[in-house]
Amino acid sequence: MSRISEHPTPEGAALHRFLVFLSAATLFLIVAGALVTSNDAGLSVPDWPTSFGSFRMPPMVGGIFYEHGHRLVAGTVGLLTILLTVWVLMKEGRPWMKKLAGVALFCVVVQAVLGGITVRFFLPPPVSTFHACVAQIFFSLIVSMAVFTSRGWRSSTVHLEDPWGISLRVLSAASVGVIFLQLFLGAAFRHFWFNVIPHVANAVVVTVMILWTAAAVIKRFGNEPFLKRPAIAAMALLVGQLILGPGAYFLLVAATHDPQPTQPMVSVTVAHVVVGAMTLAAMLVLMLRTFRVVAPRHRTAENMEMARSVTG
């Protein structure tokens, strides 16, 4: 039986395709979850884990469409994650990938329980916020696993030096950190835990960090598409977020006295959440790739030469 290793194999390519599919499914799940919040439908199904006392399909009307639809998509992603875990346990040769699969499955369980608690306890803001954050952590894990199984990852080695200014490793890791913090602050605002000010203040930090990191990539490694592509993607997504963020806020304020969530408000707030997740994913890909191909500062040119000769 062949095992998936650092080197490209057909098995590895199949697992990579599955992980890309699961990443897309998770992003769709984030859309479904954001629709529940924006449509104020979180308690339209008052029980959990059943829906209206059974596991049968309820009438998909009003808020039930969003809440039960979210549960169906979540259940599907959960099943896909079980499949992923079995696949990785059976076929992956890298022990740390097995651990990552275990953590992903654990996230699914935690997420289901947080979803249940948030329904049973009438949307407590901290629980609803952590439910949103665990979704981003799970998404990040699946995206990371997709990166680790990609052809580019498996065929690349450390071959770049980064002696200029603050290292790209530090910049990209800091960017991932501030983007995740931004998603937490956004979720806390959406779930009535914090006001909007921390989210707006951190948006400035996120903007600076993404632009700084992307500029560093273009300036230092502009001829390396492996790094340049996710950097450009992160910048493009940032531009989108800078339009969607204020738009979402003003539509939300404008809809305060409307009898029901308005379609423009729902569309823009959901897009803001989803593009936020995609921005995190783009910067995460850049960070992982940076750690893969850019040598740490302490590594000498001799060490790099040694690495080339071993892997070559």
Binding site: V61, E67, V110, R120, D258, Q260, P261
Partner: protein
């Protein structure tokens, strides 16, 4: 292997938390009837009781009611022949306000009142609550009906009473609930149809009223004394007024809310 065991252990712990959360939430639902007024009623000399009447006026620009769009729910759209408007600030033709809850909030605390044995009914009809604002005494039964051909959930969001959220499918039997503690006002919503909103005033005494199409109210049966009268409007807030009534007296207490 050790990681897998640790993961399994964590899954078990999380499952336990989930089971506990379900148990805890059921306990919350079961405590809803505590605090009902159990003491014997204080005798009141009916030959001396007084009445407070009044009206709730509105000044300012008359708001334009917003249309509720029910097209996402065919059963709701079919239940209404014409456009349906919001009820958060309804100004009557005589510039008075409809659905203002007026209650004695102080001055009657030395009395104990019998909790009425009759239920107060709220109906979900045409995907709206009827009535939009209602009052009842702490411990009195609230009967909830669903006359619609669709599923609703009724979800009061009190601060001092246990919160609950109960589904009512089409054709379901009326639901009976009680609020153990006085609370003004408890917002009620349907999470399936986010435009459905109602307000419930839960009082310690029977001295309350809700203004109607002429903006007037009448509170009868008050023992002589000085009372604090409070008028609650869901959008404009609340106003209070001191009123002293003598034996058999009828006093007028008018409120005026200012709009934008």
């Amino acid at each position: 292997m050790r990681t897998m065991k640790a993961s399994l252990l964590l899954i078990l712990v999380v499952s336990l938390v989930a089971a506990l959360s379900v148990g805890c939430s059921k306990k919350t639902e079961n405590t809803e009837e505590t605090g009902a007024n159990q003491a014997a009623p204080t005798p009141i000399d009916q030959s001396t009781v007084a009445t407070i009447t009044g009206k709730v006026s509105y000044t300012g620009t008359k708001p334009t009611p917003k249309v509720i769009h029910m097209d996402t729910e065919p059963a709701c759209a079919a239940a209404n022949s014409g456009p349906v408007y919001t009820q958060e600030l309804e100004v009557n033709s005589n510039n008075t306000l409809k659905d203002v809850f007026v209650a004695v909030t102080d001055g009657a605390n030395n009395y104990t009142f019998a909790v009425p044995s009759t239920a107060v009914t709220i109906d979900q009809k045409g995907c709206r609550y009827h009535p939009h604002v209602l009052g009842l005494m702490a411990g009195q039964t609230l009967q909830i009906e669903n006359s619609d051909h669709t599923t609703h959930n009724i979800h009061p969001m009190p601060k001092d009473n246990p919160e609950w959220n109960t589904s009512m499918p089409q054709g379901s039997q009326p639901l009976e609930k009680k609020f153990g503690r006085s609370e003004l006002l408890i917002p009620v919503k349907c999470n399936v149809h986010p435009w459905m909103k109602a307000y419930i005033g839960v009082t310690k005494n029977p001295f309350f009223a809700v203004t109607g199409d002429d903006g007037s109210f009448e509170i009868k049966g008050l023992p002589p004394g000085t009372y604090t009268l409070t008028a609650f409007q869901e959008k404009l807030g609340q106003q209070t007024m001191q009123v002293t009534v003598g034996a058999k007296e009828t006093k007028t207490a008018d409120f005026t809310f200012k709009g934008e």
